[in-house]
């Protein structure tokens, strides 16, 4: 029978480093994705994800299962991401889909887009759609952005997200509605039933959006 995250963390507290490895394997990708979508920089996202795991490891002796492990972990991650965004707001970079980042040992694309489309044009459309979505999410106010990412991509429960963001469930639902409403407007070319995006989306000036 698979151990729960809380049980794994209690085992880490008891000195079992293998349990920490299991938590690392389970959550490193969701955490890196969440942080990447928050800060929009792969190198910073990786660094922050490592900091989250480091803080979890450091706090193992004081760990008390008062909440879900994911609530605790994503609260640490959210606080780190918000601090990072606030600290680096003035020099936040626009990362294009083609830009490469130095991962230490080898170079890899900033985003690993699955190769779903056989043609070059379809691939370009897919990349542009992804870039539009990423830009729209990143343009949201920080708390709305975190709420959408935790709701849509991490699929946390409402009470968990509310605890991560330190607000009431009612306030969270209003927050989520406003965030999705903004995205609905910003991504109208992708969501409107009357507009089909089978070409490279253009912005208001008529230029390609990406």
């Amino acid at each position: 029978m698979a151990r729960t995250d809380v049980q794994l963390m209690l085992d880490v507290k008891a000195g079992d480093d293998q349990s920490f490895e299991l938590l690392l394997r389970k959550y490193r990708t969701p955490l890196v994705n969440f942080l990447y979508r928050m800060v929009r920089d792969t190198a910073v996202a990786e660094d922050l994800a490592q900091e989250v795991f480091l803080r979890v490891y450091r706090a193992r002796q004081e760990y008390a299962p008062s909440a879900k492990f994911t609530t605790w972990m994503f609260r640490i991650a959210t606080n780190l991401a918000l601090n990072s965004v606030r600290d680096n707001r003035h020099r936040l970079m626009e990362i294009s889909m083609d830009q490469t980042v130095d991962s230490g040992e080898s170079e890899q694309p900033a985003l690993e887009v699955p190769d779903r489309a056989p043609s070059v044009e379809q691939e370009l459309v897919a990349r542009c759609r992804a870039e539009m979505i990423l830009k729209a999410i990143h343009a949201l106010p920080e708390k709305q952005r975190a709420a959408v990412l935790l709701h849509k991509y991490q699929e946390l429960d409402y009470d968990e997200i509310a605890r991560v963001l330190e607000c009431s469930e009612s306030a969270l639902k209003s927050l989520l509605f406003r965030a999705y409403e903004t995205l609905r407007v910003e991504l109208a070319p992708l969501v409107s039933p009357t507009v089909r995006v089978d070409r490279v989306p253009a912005d208001r000036s008529g230029q390609p959006a990406c």
Partner: protein, 179 residues
């Protein structure tokens, strides 16, 4: 008519708080029925709900990033570089030594707290009696001192014989000669 529109606007505003949880399937049955009832009679909210569904489908197109291959190794290195948290007792090599050090500290503290003069009342009274010495016994102690008692040593001291003899103040051999 105006009242009906006002009531519809209120219902639309109420829907906003329930729409997200309705669309993600987490709404309570009562809320779900209320939303469905409103959507069936409100074209603008129905369109918005459709666009929300389309938005969520579009958001799925966001590709995932993968951690770099060096992620785990880097993290392990950072964890290994963490200073180990050690308590006071961890610095001691063994429990026996820890016990010995503790015992030594306790003994030292106890010994330093013990008064040097006993506070037993009977002993104190005896000690005070012994300290009350009469002048006669004090004189006897001085008289018993061996050097002062040895009169021969003093009287045969050669240097004293060279002193001039003065009337009324006889000293040593000079006194005998003048006689």
């Amino acid at each position: 008519m105006f009242g009906k529109e006002k009531s519809s606007v209120k219902q639309c505003a109420a829907l906003e708080r329930k729409l997200v949880e309705y669309l993600d399937g987490r709404a309570r049955p009562a809320d779900r029925h209320a939303v469905e009832e409103h959507l069936s009679g409100c074209a603008s909210c129905r369109l918005r709900a459709e666009e929300f569904r389309a938005l969520w489908t579009a958001l799925d197109d966001l590709p995932e990033v993968s951690p770099s291959p060096a992620f785990d190794a880097t993290l392990r290195t950072r964890i290994a570089a963490e200073p180990a948290r050690r308590s006071f007792w961890d610095w001691l090599p063994s429990p026996r030594l820890a016990f010995a050090v503790t015992a030594l500290v306790v003994m030292s503290a106890w010994l330093s707290s013990v008064p040097r003069v006993t506070t037993n009342p009977t002993v104190v009274s005896q000690a005070s009696q012994a300290s009350e010495v009469s002048p006669e016994s004090d004189f006897g102690m001085i008289r018993d001192l061996p050097v002062l008692e040895n009169f021969d040593v003093v009287s045969k001291f050669d240097a004293l014989s060279e002193l001039p003899v003065t009337q009324g103040r006889p000293t040593g051999e000079g006194v005998k000669e003048s006689r």
